[in-house]
């Protein structure tokens, strides 16, 4: 696995088109979902996913540690998203509620309760400050490890853990 990743990075650095296609195949779904979860609408998310890969391709020379490939591409994506929000300050984030309708129709009682819990949690996550929201999304929804998520956010592991713990505390308080 490591050898495969190292080879991919080496081929990317050499400007290999096949490697670029491989990188896209590996991560485009994750990055698209990340964009949605960061509050972008469907079409924006597609555009921003595309933009993230173009930037990754253009700056592949800056990737020094091939082990960090995943967090590197995530970091680019998060930055692309941040740049978008800077340019479109007036635009409201879509929020998780627009991503998927968490409907309760046709469900049993337990399922309805569970679904209601999710709705509450969804609203609470959407209402979190950006840093906390991003930490929750990267670790619990995108399933990045603590180290990967910390690297994505450009902070120390300890800082990220503390951020995550504060975010969870806030969510518990909200619920």
């Amino acid at each position: 696995m490591e050898k495969k990743r190292d080879s991919l990075v080496a081929r990317l650095k050499a400007g290999n088109r096949g490697a670029a296609a491989e990188l896209v195949d590996l991560y485009y779904e994750q990055i698209y979902l990340l964009m949605l979860r960061l509050g972008h609408r469907h079409h924006e998310s597609e555009d921003l996913t595309q933009e993230s890969f173009i930037q990754a391709w253009q700056h592949i020379g800056q990737l020094r540690n091939s082990e960090a490939l995943k967090s590197w591409i995530y970091r680019i994506a998060v930055n692309v998203s941040k740049q978008y929000w800077k340019k479109h300050k007036e635009q409201r984030a879509a929020g998780l509620e627009d991503i998927e309708q968490l409907g309760c129709d046709g469900l049993g009682r337990d399922e309805v309760e569970f679904s209601e819990q999710l709705v509450l949690l969804r609203d609470a996550v959407s209402g979190l400050p950006v840093k906390f929201r991003s930490a929750i999304i990267l670790h619990y929804m995108q399933h990045l490890t603590i180290a990967e998520a910390a690297e994505t956010e450009g902070v120390m592991v300890g800082t990220f853990k503390s951020r995550l713990s504060r975010a969870l505390k806030k969510l518990r308080k909200e619920l």
């Binding site: 050499a14 400007g15 979902l33 595309q50 890969f53 391709w57 998780l96 998927e100 999710l118 969870l168």
Partner: protein, 175 residues
Amino acid sequence: MKELLGQLGEKTSRPVRSGLAEEIKQDISNYLPQHKRSRDTINIIIDFRINKLAAAVAIIVTLFLCANLFDINHSGDNSIFEEGGYLINYCLQSFGIGGVSSEQLAGLAQYERLVGQGFDVVYYGNHIDWSDSSAILMQWKVGDDEYKVLFSDLREKKVSGEELIELQAQMLRKK
């Protein structure tokens, strides 16, 4: 809470449009020329705009540097400077800057070279009649009572102090 967040992550995912990956790959291909092709090569694009005269000066200085770098022995043989002069003049004419003879350019080139070598050179090029082949273009001391004189036709001659005074007097008389 963590489990709920995981569930929310699943609920907030949606299938990615099938053509997105191909579009991204296509888009990356368009950026290939801008991407550095290996770690050992770099792309340098310089958009350097200077006026025509400055360009001509830059060419002259470059010729000088080359002449000094390769330690071209100039005594008695002016061919490299003459040819350089022709080349520069050709360039200047193609830039639309006419009226500078190859002798003048070659003379200037030699003056710069001698000054660069530490000689105390007296230059008369701004005041002489260039059509007079016996006019002194420049002079410099090479030893006790020994001087070198470069005429406007780029002939070089070693003279004594007395001969030098005589040559200068001739020039003044012609004026």
